[in-house]
């Protein structure tokens, strides 16, 4: 619904994309019929909603290919990119976040916090440019951009091409994630149950692992969901830096070419992914924390 309104706000008739500049009135009318923009708004909306329900995203105005095909092809770049970046971010953020909270009074605890502060102020694309400068230009370790034409048929090359983009996403996302892990750990450290566990004779690491991890994980999981969604959608910038043929660059190109079915399709699929991820994060939270489950069963979540 929101999508439909936003898309109709785009100025100009979508039929224009089909026509050359000097088209006469009859040609315009024919094109409008083909696209469906001559129908009243409510009929357009019904057609729109109906075809979405059948996963029919239409065909691109520019290439004439079905939108869903192109999206699926591009997802094979964006999804691995986002997932690997996400994994790297978690691997960086969780241990370092816990460490920086537990050892906040040591020099490295403070250092980690300061560096993560820096991480949220840096635009993703600049990190990408810097990594290219260091690893691709200076040391020539990784390619500075592009993706093998044959895609995942050549796995080694595909991974090789994604190395720097994944690092870019992982570092930036890791920095912002780290701050949440750190404050969740601080909450755990100040909690009564941890003190009780210690009083009952558990060593500090024991108490932290047995009681701290799961309790601290609950708020983190919902943040993880949001971050993963942001990464999927936000990959547009990283894909531009490294010239990757992903979903983001498809959206950018479609906006430039006023290719409405493509814009609409990308937005629809990303919205769907965002909702699915949010749902998955919700379920995971309930798996971790029985208290949330009971509240849901009570019907008053």
């Amino acid at each position: 619904m929101v999508l439909f309104v936003l898309l109709r706000l785009l100025p100009g008739d979508p039929a224009n994309a089909l026509l050359s500049v000097g088209a006469d009135a009859a040609q315009i009318e024919k094109a409008r019929e083909q696209v469906g923009s001559n129908l009243p708004l409510w009929q357009q909306f019904l057609r729109f909603a109906g075809s979405l329900a059948r996963f029919d995203l239409g065909t691109s105005f520019v290439s004439g290919k079905p939108v869903i095909e192109e999206i699926l092809a591009r997802l094979t770049v964006t999804v691995p990119l986002a997932l690997m970046g996400f994994l790297l971010a978690v691997l960086v953020a969780v241990p370092l976040g816990i460490l920086s909270a537990v050892k906040a009074n040591r020099w490295y605890g403070g250092l980690i916090s300061t560096v993560s502060q820096l991480g949220i102020a840096i635009p993703v694309f600049w990190v990408g440019i810097l990594l290219v400068t260091v690893f691709a230009v200076t040391f020539r370790l990784f390619p500075s951009g592009g993706f093998p034409r044959r895609g995942w048929q050549n796995e080694g090359q595909a991974f090789y091409a994604l190395a720097l983009p994944v690092m870019t996403i992982g570092l930036v996302m890791g920095a912002s994630l780290l701050r949440y892990v750190r404050s969740a750990t601080q909450d755990v450290l100040g909690s009564d149950y941890l003190r009780t566990a210690r009083a009952l004779g558990a060593s500090f690491p024991q108490a932290l692992v047995r009681h701290g991890i799961l309790n601290g994980a609950v708020p983190i999981v919902s943040i993880l969901g949001i971050e993963l969604a942001t990464t999927l959608l936000g990959a547009v910038v990283v894909e531009r830096v490294f010239a990757l043929p992903g979903l983001g660059s498809m959206l950018l190109l479609a906006i430039e070419q006023r290719d409405y079915p493509n814009v609409q399709g990308v937005l629809f699929i990303s919205t769907l992914l965002v909702l699915l991820i949010g749902f998955a994060a919700d379920l995971t939270q309930r798996l971790i924390d029985p208290r949330l489950r009971e509240r849901a069963v009570g019907g008053n979540a």
Partner: protein
Amino acid sequence: MSPVETSVSTRGQRHSLALTVGLALVGINVLVAVLTLLWTPYDPLNASGGRLEAPSLLHWLGTDRLGRDLLTQLMIGARTALLVGTGAVAIGAAIGVSLGVLAAFATRLADDVMAATLDILIAFPTLLLAMLVVAASDSASLWTAILALGLAISAIVARLTRILAKRVLRQDYIVASRTSGTSWAGVVLRHVLPNIWPTLSVNFALQFGLAVIAEASLSYLGLGAPPPNASWGRLLQEAQGTVYTAPIGAIAPGIALVALVIGMNLLADGLRDIADPTRGRSR
């Protein structure tokens, strides 16, 4: 925040430090931006040296691929960044606060609808919303970018305002104030806005930083202000291609950008401690 630090005085000192550094970083930016209105080292629009010159006494940061002085471009970029941040936050605040206060007063149904809509809007990254608004306007200009970011921010501000305002409206003194004959408009002006302002202002400072980053990203993607206006994002995009020969062009604008955003974030931290001195000490 941290249970490990218990001494009040060290916390106070650390935070006034955050405020000082933040003010300094933002202040330098403002000064540079004002300076560009009166004077720049070179003509920003025309070549003043050879292409991609290395830094020298004449051109402290060298020149870009059209032979324009990079320092001049960078200084004008500061003006753009401040304009975008201020404009976007002003638009976001005006729309967001009004909507949020309205929602706090609205009937249950209207409030629910508003809350759900805001949640959906916020689930989209700011950048994506801004891209759509920019795409919806016929020509990209600095003002479209500002408007787009302002609208995206307004959703976040509206949600925060709604929650804060509802909390205030539940207080007993609101009932007392109403009983003594104050109109609802009076209640909003005298009680609601002053009470939610400290938290809001912290949020505005954070949003300012995010808006600056988002504008740089838009410009980097080619959806920001068109060429004669210098923007750090576009400077970075232009420099990416010549990073082999002139690495400084790909580094300096980034540092300027990060300095401004960190400055705003520190300012937000400092403001938060002034607004709520109890935070972090108890728990």
